[in-house]
Point group: none
Chain length 122, copies 4
DNA sequence: GTGGTCTAGACCACC
DNA sequence: GTGGTCTAGACCACC
């Protein structure tokens, strides 16, 4: 990510999702300190106000906590990160199923796709 | 489909994709006559010129053929439709793989997703 | 010729030209009898009135002469046919020159065209 | 050119041919920028949409390339322009041959035409 | 009825 | 400034 935001959706929400994905991926482990609002704003090439709004939203959801004068930290609650992973994985799965249905693939063709996928992610 | 087009991409190209999907799904079998430009334009709530442009693009790609005064027909070439199905299936697969990777799922979790998918599409 | 007339120009004039070309080509030699208006009209798939008008124009120009009750005959005057041949040949030549100029061909390229032509008409 | 289009053929295709002829003649050298769609439309007295369609066709054929916000440029590929020159020259030649044959000229008469032509284009 | 072309004019993205 | 897309509506050719 960087500069490439979907202009049709609020940027701060896209940042919220990106931060969650990074935590889910293990890039930001539970309890770790996040880059400061200013650093992250520079890295993602957005206005610090926008980044601040994203951090506030993440805090509102309990995904991060901010300690005055110390910085922002990913929640220690592994459960929260796991739930987010689950939510994202489910969305990805449902989308795949919907698209496959839309193509009207036959069972054999779906099987082949699944085999390809299993190999690719191995 | 109807009225719901992604405003960031040309409508006529989205129509091209939609028509291909319908052919791939068997909704428009090889050789069948398509609705006229005007009918389809009304059904999808776009200007006839836009629909005409979509049909012209489909003809340029050899996916349909148009006979002046008679109408437009899906290609008899099953190969062409099959290739399109393959192309779409591959795109769906690759996107799924990319998204799964972005989440950094563990092999077991991927397995569970694949099992869910197999059940869902059955 | 037959049925294929340029719809933007009077048909009777196109017939006049066609008859002249046939005479020029030797298909209708000097003094020969032409098919009757009705026959020719049927052959060229036009209305007899249109053919009649064409014959009248040809007579007006002295290219053919019509004897009441006997039919129409190409002029005996070879000079007249030769002049027509010259006129047509000149037109063809000038058009070629104009087109070649429009392409801005180099002398060598023109030479090659002329060589091709000499071979083709041999 | 300007205002004078053959009404029996699509204007946009006649423009395509005209632009190619200009490139072939060296009026638009390889790589040069073409007048903008709007300028050219005004110069040829057609609607900008019609000109746009002509440019799109030229781009589709690889004869020009268009960069959004910058303009349209004749291909750098001299080969492409040369091929077009060849194609046009061949058409001119074949038409001349056909017309000469239609007149049934004798070899000597053809020779004289060719001599005239050689002098005229010198 | 069918599609093909053209004009007129708007609005947008990219530069 | 540039081109790209879309709508609206006319007129034509082919069937």
């Amino acid at each position: 990510m960087s500069t490439e935001f979907d202009p049709t959706r609020p940027i701060y929400l896209q940042i919220v999702e990106e931060v969650k994905k990074r935590a889910v991926r293990g890039q930001y482990p539970p309890g770790c300190q996040l880059p400061s609002v200013r650093e992250m704003a520079k890295a993602m090439e957005v206005n610090p106000n926008t980044m601040s709004r994203a951090y506030m939203e993440l805090e509102r959801e309990g995904f991060i906590s901010t300690r005055r004068g110390q910085g922002s930290f990913v929640t220690e609650e592994v459960r929260q990160v796991n739930e987010e992973r689950q939510r994202l994985a489910t969305a990805v799965r449902d989308r795949f199923v919907a698209e496959v249905r839309e193509l009207g693939l036959e069972p054999g063709q779906v099987e082949r796709l699944l085999r390809d996928i299993r190999e690719a992610v191995r």
